[in-house]
Symmetry: C2
Subunit: 329 residues, 2 copies
């Protein structure tokens, strides 16, 4: 008898590929297939996992334990997650922070009816960073949180540069300011502006004959994206971009400093950091661990929409509770 957790992947971009790799590396899971809106015959998977059209998903209601939602937060997930939790336990990485309460409500309404579990906003931020903000805040109620992102590639900012006239390709890195990190770690609880926390570095491939000065000016003054930051622009060749900037690294820091004692006389620093070669593969690895939790929790009769705050840590590990106590406590 096969007790492996059966995983389906809905959407096959970078995140879907990351999940394919993560499931392959998890001995207690198996990949049932990838589901796509494209013509399945045109999609080749990394591991030769079967590819099906999204329209065929209803043939898999008893063949998949957890369906991993790999669409985008803007338009895909707000529709797909509540729709598919009617039939499957689902995990998504919904990351539009302001709309999380609304997304939670719509997924929960369907999940309560279907008896399935939907874990939303899983990944590293939201996800592991949220967890660390929460644990640190509960332990040190008198304190202040800081989140820094990077060094890493911001896809949205890279896209914004690519839309400028005369730009052929671009890659943008968000970089935390080391001096600001040190100031936070000192426990001085500084108030930091956007400009003081992060810088932005852009690598741009311009079209032949483009006005480089004008491109640079358009980038550094772009409202919301760059105007509030110290931004550096480097013009490089397509070959250099492809050679030196093809990865999708990211990471960041969640730091809470706080005090204890009747007169707040003792200072403490809690710091959590990630340094990731591949943002989508790490995010996929977090989603995969939460898929294990969803399958187990649903087997115990739990249902509804959940977030990382609602999932007892032990559910994520392939080890039994006894093993965890013995080996990791």
């Amino acid at each position: 008898m096969n007790n492996k957790i059966r995983i389906g992947i809905m959407g096959y971009g970078n995140l879907g590929k990351g999940i394919e790799a993560a499931v392959t590396n998890s001995t207690d899971m198996e990949l049932v297939g990838v589901f796509t809106r494209r013509n399945p015959e045109t999609v080749k998977t990394l591991t030769n996992a079967p590819v099906y059209h999204t329209d065929d998903i209803m043939n898999f209601t008893d063949k998949i334990d957890v369906l991993m939602m790999c669409g985008g937060s803007a338009t895909d997930l707000p529709k797909q997650t509540p729709e598919f939790v009617k039939y499957f336990n689902v995990i998504d990485s919904f990351d539009t922070h302001a709309k999380i309460p609304e997304h939670f409500a719509s997924v929960d309404a369907e999940a309560q009816k279907s008896g399935k579990i939907g874990i939303i906003s899983v990944g590293w931020d939201p996800g592991m960073f949220s967890l660390n903000r929460m644990y640190a805040g509960a332990v040190l109620p008198n304190g202040k949180d800081y989140t820094f992102w990077g060094k890493g590639v911001s896809q949205g900012h890279s896209d914004a540069i690519r839309r400028i006239e005369g730009v052929k390709d671009a890659r943008q890195y968000t970089i935390p300011v080391e001096a600001a990190l040190e100031q936070v770690r000192s426990g001085s609880c500084p108030e930091l502006t956007t400009r003081q926390k992060h810088t932005r570095e852009c690598f741009v491939v311009a079209e032949d004959g483009a006005d480089l000065g004008k491109i640079e000016q358009e980038i550094v003054t772009m409202p919301n994206y760059f105007a509030d930051y110290d931004t550096t622009v480097h013009f490089i060749s397509q070959e250099e971009l492809d050679r030196d900037h093809k990865g999708i690294p990211h990471g960041g820091f969640v730091i809470r400093t706080g005090t204890t004692g009747l007169n707040n006389e003792n200072h403490h620093v809690i710091e959590y950091s990630l340094k990731l070669d591949s943002n989508p593969e790490f995010t996929a690895s977090v989603l995969t661990a939460y898929a294990r939790a969803a399958a187990r929790m649903n087997k115990e009769g739990l249902k509804g929409c959940k977030t990382v705050f609602d999932v007892a840590p032990g559910y994520l590990s392939p080890m039994s509770a006894e093993e965890l106590r013995k080996k990791l406590l």
Copy 2:
């Protein structure tokens, strides 16, 4: 109506005092009293909280929601935690790693009968460090964990030095080796010996006329405690010890490096660190957050022995689930 969580403190040493301060700083809790085996009239609390003799505890079964066990792991907690979970929800900081399974079993047997909750081995190691080892291992199954402790005071090692003939007082610091930390962060998964991971630094007050060379030799060659480490000994005056080394700082690092991708081609580093001015006050703050969890979980009908792996993170926070999703996710 008073909805505050009512806390009792069993044992009034450094940890008990830390809990007194932490409860005072928590707006959703109130301290009912401190329980001691000493004559209560001889014990003066920091906040003038009432002091009772341990023998009177049975008068409080309906007045305390969570009893915080602040005795030692060697002899107190193995007896007290299973005994008091018969009547109260309890939290302890049992830290004899090898005996955790046994302690869990004895607390669980009583808690299942009484319908109470006992959360054991709470603090930072075991506790927050255990959680971070577990989360990181679940997310990056292909990887390796490292734990470093310090810079901080080891009470047991300080005591061992004080037992040497000619030593009046002493304070020992455990210090992680920076080069080893860097090696681990590089993702090279080094095999590190005890000596390579930590050094030990000792500040010793000798009695007048004592043989300093002999004391130093006894320290650095002491089996189990110092022989496996590079140890530095400084002789100082009692005044200097009292002035410069009266704090109880501690901290440490939990680092996991691992890979993702079909060919393990992408490297990732997850790092959690603590820098604590007061080891007992921080430990007490963790216990206090878990007291909130114990009270809530028991109110929901949950019972039995639990560890940090079994407690969904949201239970620790005074915020509601809605607030957590809105503000911290």
